[in-house]
């Protein structure tokens, strides 16, 4: 018989090895999958994980791209990780990301073509507020009526997608756009543009902010009492209530943080790399960030690496699409697989396994 014995302390070594093993296993199974799709597995794996960084032809473009794609993932995952620790499951970050972008862009575009130094910072703040507003709906419904936040936050993603359609075909449509869907391009509006900081790389303020937020969340979680409260609520809600704390306040804080950061990611993206509000603005960062949060073990520094690895699979995935004609869905499959392996590996982190009879 196999017997599971809970560990008294979570093994830190295994906790670190888990994500690495999971990536390894994903490469292995992914390689087998590629083989069956008629693609050379070694070439494909190399192109996803190696070429974007090391290849001379691609790296000058790819390395900054990893940071650009990693920034929204890291921002959103940081916010989500706090809630996940406390057992508050906001899985609608995709919707909050969209709403952040719409709110911020609506503000900036309503002032077009006015020039002012105040527009950009205000736009960012309004974007954050937009994300918060969208995550406040599940928060308030959970606090007030005890409605499941998982389902509400997810339903709101579909609502946000419809509002996005409404915006790009209607109220934000570029009046000079010859009837094409999509708003004015914010990158051509100097007061609102989230322009690149290092010329020719595309690295923008969002990238810098994502790195800054890692430090902020590290302090919040490990040096501030809030971090302790979050862990307490997650591991023992009863103990939390007995200690005289109000769990509702924490629900509000967690959803504000995750919604706000998703909104920040959204406004940074729409004013920067994406440039405009359009129907296909959202590409699933809000969902991938859930994987990033787990891959990073809900730890800010872990999330930094996890976000970059996941961004690498996006960039590498695009390469395989161009070079090997591999379908885009293969990368999504990869990401799902990675999460499976990670979650399975947790068994060894939390339990000792004893073989043999009783």
């Amino acid at each position: 018989m196999i017997q599971l014995i809970p560990r008294e302390n979570v093994s830190p070594v295994l906790s670190l090895l888990g994500p690495l093993f999971s990536i390894g296993f994903t490469m292995l199974i992914g390689g087998i999958l590629f083989y069956f799709l008629g693609v050379d597995p070694f070439a494909a794996i190399k192109m996803i994980f190696w070429d974007p960084i090391m290849s001379e032809t691609f790296s000058s473009y790819s390395i900054p791209q990893i940071f650009i794609k990693g920034a929204p993932l890291i921002l959103i995952a940081l916010g989500l990780s706090v809630g996940f620790k406390a057992n508050i499951w906001n899985i609608g970050a995709e919707g909050q990301y969209i709403m952040g972008a719409i709110f911020g862009a609506s503000f900036a575009l309503s002032l077009y073509p006015m020039n002012s130094a105040f527009i950009f910072p205000l736009m960012v703040l309004i974007g954050i507020a937009g994300g918060c507003l969208w995550s406040m709906i599940p928060a308030i419904l959970k606090i007030r009526f005890n409605v499941n936040e998982i389902l509400v936050s997810l339903m709101l993603v579909y609502v946000a997608e419809q509002i996005l359609a409404l915006a790009s075909l209607g109220f934000l449509r570029n009046p000079d756009g010859a009837g094409f869907p999509g708003s004015r391009n914010l990158s051509q509006y100097p007061s609102a543009s989230n322009s690149e900081l290092i010329l020719g790389t595309g690295i923008h303020l969002g990238v810098v902010l994502s790195l800054f937020m890692i430090v902020f969340f590290y302090i919040l979680l490990f040096r501030h009492s809030l971090g302790f409260k979050i862990k307490l609520l997650g591991s023992s809600p009863k103990a939390y209530s007995f200690s005289g704390q109000n769990p509702n306040k924490l629900i509000l804080i967690c959803l504000t943080l995750s919604g706000g950061l998703a909104g920040l990611a959204g406004i940074m993206e729409v004013a920067g790399p994406a440039g405009q509000i359009n129907i296909d603005f959202n590409v699933g960062y809000g969902f991938t960030a859930i994987i990033v949060a787990f891959l990073g073990r809900l730890n800010p520094i872990g999330i930094l690496f996890a976000g970059l690895v996941m961004a690498l699979t996006y960039v590498g995935g695009e390469l395989t699409q161009f070079m090997l004609n591999l379908p885009a869905a293969a990368i999504q499959l990869f990401q799902g697989m990675l999460l499976f392996f990670l979650l399975s590996f947790d068994l060894f982190v939390y339990y000792k396994i004893r073989l043999g009879g009783n």
């Binding site: 499941n148 339903m155 419809q162 869905a329 990368i331």
Partner: protein
């Protein structure tokens, strides 16, 4: 065209067709949750059912064989979830999400060559005599086999849970797995079977979408149906009869908004398209507000891992 263009009989008949995938998937999830497991991967299992059912349906030319394939595919995918959750003790919420992400990716990959093909037809079976009743006949008794089966399934699930010994065992496992274990019931095996049943039902629900309801394969075609099925289970208070009513109300809202779009009512399409999702949120709020309902019906061990204690 105006509101009078909407034919009531056709409306009710299409409402039932629209609701059937939800009824099937939600019934499956009801059994899973009654056994104490929360599987958030319904969306993933549905879409795998949709794509597998469609591929097999097109290749064999039979929608029925497609449906069977959809059930098998859904059950197989759920096995992955069962293994991770029951054997590897992984967090159920996160594993369910992983299942959905994985399922959506796999389905997109599998279905790519099949985009834009038409599926084989499924015959409607007119109930003798009953289908001749004016209005009502057209509404309720001229459907395909799966619709009738879904209604039978509602009854069977109710009977299983409330009148059969095995149903009682399943409920006891969901209520308190430690007690059930000490009574000698095999918690893990029962949950495995429940999860597989849930997977098969979600698979058929998905297959019904791609083979009958739409009938076509498009990427991401479930569009949240799996999540709505999850909400329906909560809304029903874990009771099959109420689940059916809930699904039909929901299907009604979907069909009504589609009809309003079709006749060109002066409301923006995007706003109409939001209606099903907003209705789901509203339903969840209303059901949580009613004090009578409360948490009654929610299994005691829902979402908790079971570790065999010695």
């Amino acid at each position: 065209m105006g509101l009078s263009e909407i034919n009531l009989a056709v409306l009710v008949a299409s409402l039932i067709v629209a609701s059937t995938p939800l009824v099937l998937a939600a019934l499956g999830e009801l059994i899973v949750e009654k056994s104490g497991v929360l599987n958030l991967g319904v969306e993933g299992m549905m879409i795998i059912g949709a794509v597998s059912g469609f591929i097999v349906g097109v290749e064999t030319g039979s929608a029925y064989i497609g449906m069977i394939a959809a059930a098998i595919a859904g059950a197989l995918l759920s096995l992955l979830f069962a293994f991770i959750v029951l054997i590897m003790q992984a967090n159920q919420v996160a594993s369910g999400l992983a299942l959905t992400i994985f399922g959506l990716g796999l389905a997109a990959l599998m279905g790519h060559p099949y985009t834009g093909i038409k599926s084989p037809q499924i015959q409607t079976i007119s109930m003798p005599f009953l289908s001749d009743i004016p209005l009502i006949g057209q509404m309720f008794f001229q459907h395909d086999l799966i619709v009738y089966l879904s209604l039978i399934a509602v009854f069977v699930v109710w009977y299983f849970l409330n009148r059969m010994r095995l149903g009682l065992v399943l409920r006891s496992v969901g209520e308190d797995h430690d007690v059930a274990h000490s009574l000698g019931y095999r918690v893990i095996s029962i949950r495995f079977l429940a999860i597989m049943f849930g997977g098969a039902m979600a698979g058929v629900g998905g297959g019904y979408l791609s083979l009958v309801r739409v009938p076509q394969w498009t990427e991401g075609m479930t569009a949240g149906a799996g999540w709505i099925a999850l909400a329906l289970v909560v809304f029903s208070g874990w009771r099959p009869g109420r689940l059916l009513i809930g699904a039909y109300i929901f299907g009604g809202i979907t069909i009504l908004q589609l009809n309003l779009q079709a006749i060109g009512v002066n409301i923006n399409i995007a706003i109409l398209s939001m209606a099903p999702y907003l209705a789901t949120i509203l339903a969840l709020v209303l059901i949580s507000m009613s004090r009578l309902h409360g948490k009654r019906g929610a299994p005691g061990c829902l979402g908790k891992s079971f570790v065999k204690s010695v």
